[in-house]
Point group: C2
Chain length 276, copies 2
């Protein structure tokens, strides 16, 4: 594992690291914020999954999360959103291929040789981080924005017991019924929709829900409301009596200004769930 | 004045605006954050001047200042760092020309026709903002990073009574004695060093100081310490008995992770000085 950068940040360290990924069969880069409390012993960890077009870097520099994580003593992980490199398949569209892994294990050509972001985020990267940094992997929580909110919700529901809490900022909530989903799930998983359902937060909420608390924030002025389908997830949460809150935030759009504005509440929410 | 963007942010609005600048003889773009308190009446305003290579956007997206400004009810102005456009002189170096205006009024060709950032930040932009937004121009403060810290300090000392307080993050503290300064001041103002002294924070501190309180933060691991010359400014501040604090911050470098980490203290410092 190579240290790309380490910057002092709110008394802790904002690091960027690169490693050879087995899951993705390429080099992968991730960000990790360790709060000052990590010097005294392992700290709980919050995963932040990013949205379409992002790398590990967007949230690390624009979400303002380190300020609140340092107060609460939480580590933050910022994975990339897809495999990358010369030999990795891509597409001209911003919403397929690099920057658009959708947190699935692709089964279809040309994607299946590298696009295994589910395994990368669910298995390989947690093992690496647990082995190499002062984090307590028995205390994990997960969040994400847009495509990353989709990833956070679907991972949390598929891995019961793994995450103490899950939240999302404007998640792609019902991809099997959206152009943000049908296109990508067809490309990565094939035309049979039965293989898609585990990657749809609304369907998974209806089928199984999640143990820990759920917090969803959605901007009412989000320019992508039709693609995100938040009403489907809200319906499924309440129909299931899921322990959770779905908040509609007047005036906010889909940008990182929205994410940064809601971040204090999300960090406090996860810190509360992660307390021993 | 054209609205480029307005995003809801921490209950207020992060706007980006473009206007035809008389001082710079080109279109100029600036960011302005209005906190929610501005809906109820004019709020005090903190100027943030950016460093080399930056536009209006860097601090707006990476410094995390809106979170704290919204708590305190402060507006934030993020000017660009130079004139821009097809007809504007430039240089291949990152530290001269576009992105490197150094907050001076250039007198030398080819710079003098557009590079009038002093007049732009000291006169034109305050007049525009005071006329068009819910801000109280009798309550202003100023800060900045690196080249912007140089600008903040030299403006505050040249305009007594304008700013209630001044702070800086790793300012270029003594440009007349540094390669970050001699090169640019020669290009913009000519070879005679007597025209440079009003643009050197250390010389101005020795000569006149400033009424309001001063807060300087400097990272001890800053990769540009030799160019910034913080010891010269600290010497001048203490020799003058200036009301102020110069803090050396262990472990921090020159990045926006440093700026963001110190931002809560700077916003609190200015909010305190700006209280009625």
């Amino acid at each position: 594992m190579e240290i790309v950068a380490e910057n002092r940040c709110f008394g802790g360290v904002q690091g960027v690291y690169r490693h050879a990924s087995t899951a993705c069969a390429c080099d992968m880069t991730f960000g990790l914020f360790l709060p000052p409390q990590a010097l005294r012993g392992p700290v709980p960890v919050l995963w932040y999954l990013s949205g379409l077009t992002c790398t590990h870097e967007n949230a690390m520099t624009k979400a303002g999360a380190q300020a609140w994580a340092a107060q609460e003593g939480l580590a933050l992980v910022f994975p990339d959103t897809s495999p990358r490199g010369d030999g990795v398949a891509d597409d001209d569209a911003y919403d397929l291929g690099m920057g658009a892994g959708f947190y699935v294990n692709a089964t279809e050509t040309p994607w299946s040789s590298h696009y295994r972001m589910w395994d990368y985020v669910a298995e390989e990267l947690p093992a690496l981080i647990g082995a190499r940094f002062s984090v307590d992997m028995t205390r994990q929580a997960i969040t994400g924005h847009s495509m990353g909110g989709h990833g956070a919700l679907t991972l949390a529901m598929a891995l019961p017991g793994r995450f103490k809490s899950v939240s999302a900022f404007a998640p792609i909530a019902n991809p099997t019924a959206s152009d943000w989903g049908q296109k990508q799930l067809t490309a990565y998983l094939g035309v049979d929709p039965s293989s898609w359902s585990r990657h749809d937060a609304t369907l998974q909420m209806a089928e199984r829900g999640v143990d820990g608390p759920v917090l969803i924030d959605q901007g009412a002025n989000d320019q992508f409301l039709d693609l995100l389908r938040p009403e489907a997830l809200a319906n499924a949460m309440v129909a299931r009596r899921q322990n959770g809150v779905h908040r509609m935030q007047p005036g906010y759009d889909h940008s990182y200004f929205f994410v940064a504005s809601m971040m204090p509440d999300h960090i406090a929410f996860h810190a509360d769930a992660l307390e021993d």
